[in-house]
Amino acid sequence: MSAVLRALLLALGLALGAAAHAQPAGDASPLRFRDGAEEARFHRLTAELRCVMCQNQSLADSNAQIAHDMRREVLALMRQGHGDADIKRFLVERYGEFVLYRPAVDTHTWLLWFGPGLVLLGGGLAVWRIVRRRAAAARGAASDDGEQEW
């Protein structure tokens, strides 16, 4: 029994130790908003920002300590009277374009923005060409058949 428990604890320790890039355990005291408008703006803004630690969560959803710190900073910047664009620039300067779910169209993001469209366009073009060729072949075959019938 105690051997099993020890093994479990050891496994837990190893699993925790394996986290190569760790997060501090801190107080996650909730932010307090002055009014509903501030809260709505805060939620709209943080939903558009990506957590840098858990990259498939938004800043609004993430429970990582760093996300907590960044939310606190976003609220502080809002209270200092900074606009949404200003706050986004503040975070981009420090953490890179990655924090934005909708990065600016740029030389190194154009493929991200237009890549899917280009693929769709290429596929559409291929389909169109195949259909046209088949149609021409079918027409040719039909006329051949006609000749042979006669």
Partner: protein, 198 residues
């Protein structure tokens, strides 16, 4: 003249795709296989989620933080100007920091460059005890207990290690524990370059 065979022109096309389509398909398939192979090879890489630092080539953030060993004294970027320094973000709560500690200590003991400790979101008492237990390789340790200034460095977790040159420009960053390979293969070359540029 009256050959029984069909001439190539009006021979019915053999069923199947034109060669061009087959070549394009094959290239597409090979590309896909390559992409998957790349994904599989990278999946073993501990750094696969690491983001490039937005600060490389830019001035390091200005800071003046309390010294861990004497909070009445503040130490910061102004005191470090003039020569390169390495900034190591760590916390006593961070298991990976303990893993990298021997590597960092060995590197710091070469006295090649000043290694500044950045104690991030930590209890000062815990941090001091940690240093006493595992050894203090740092030139100086500054404490950012609230973690507010770490945002300026783009810190997402610990450990993270920065190299700042004598002009105060961030030259290099490593996310995750330092290893001997990283020190030898990346940090030392970056340091040499920073020193030469000076």
């Amino acid at each position: 003249m009256t050959a029984p065979q069909d001439t190539p022109q009006n021979a019915p096309r053999p069923p199947g795709l034109p060669p061009v389509a087959i070549v394009i398909g094959a290239l597409f398939f090979l590309g896909l296989v390559g992409l998957m192979l790349y994904g599989v090879l990278r999946s073993g890489d501990a750094d696969r989620d690491v983001l490039p630092s937005a600060l490389i080539g830019k001035p390091a953030p200005q800071f003046a933080l309390p010294v861990l060993h004497d909070p009445s004294v503040r130490f910061g970027s102004a005191d470090l100007r003039g020569a390169p320094y390495v900034l190591n973000v760590w916390g006593s709560w961070c298991a990976a920091c303990r893993d990298e500690h021997p590597v960092l200590t060995a590197f710091a003991q070469t006295k090649r460059v000043r290694v500044v400790g950045y104690n991030w979101k930590d209890e000062p008492a815990d941090a001091l005890r940690w240093l006493e237990r595992f050894g203090n390789p740092f030139f100086v340790v500054v404490a950012d207990q609230e973690g507010r200034h770490a945002l300026d460095w783009g810190v997402a977790g610990a450990p993270e290690t920065f190299l700042v040159d004598g002009a105060g420009i961030v030259r290099w960053k490593h996310t995750g524990p330092l290893t001997e390979q990283v020190v030898r293969g990346q940090l030392l070359p970056a340091l040499e370059q920073a020193e030469r540029a000076r």
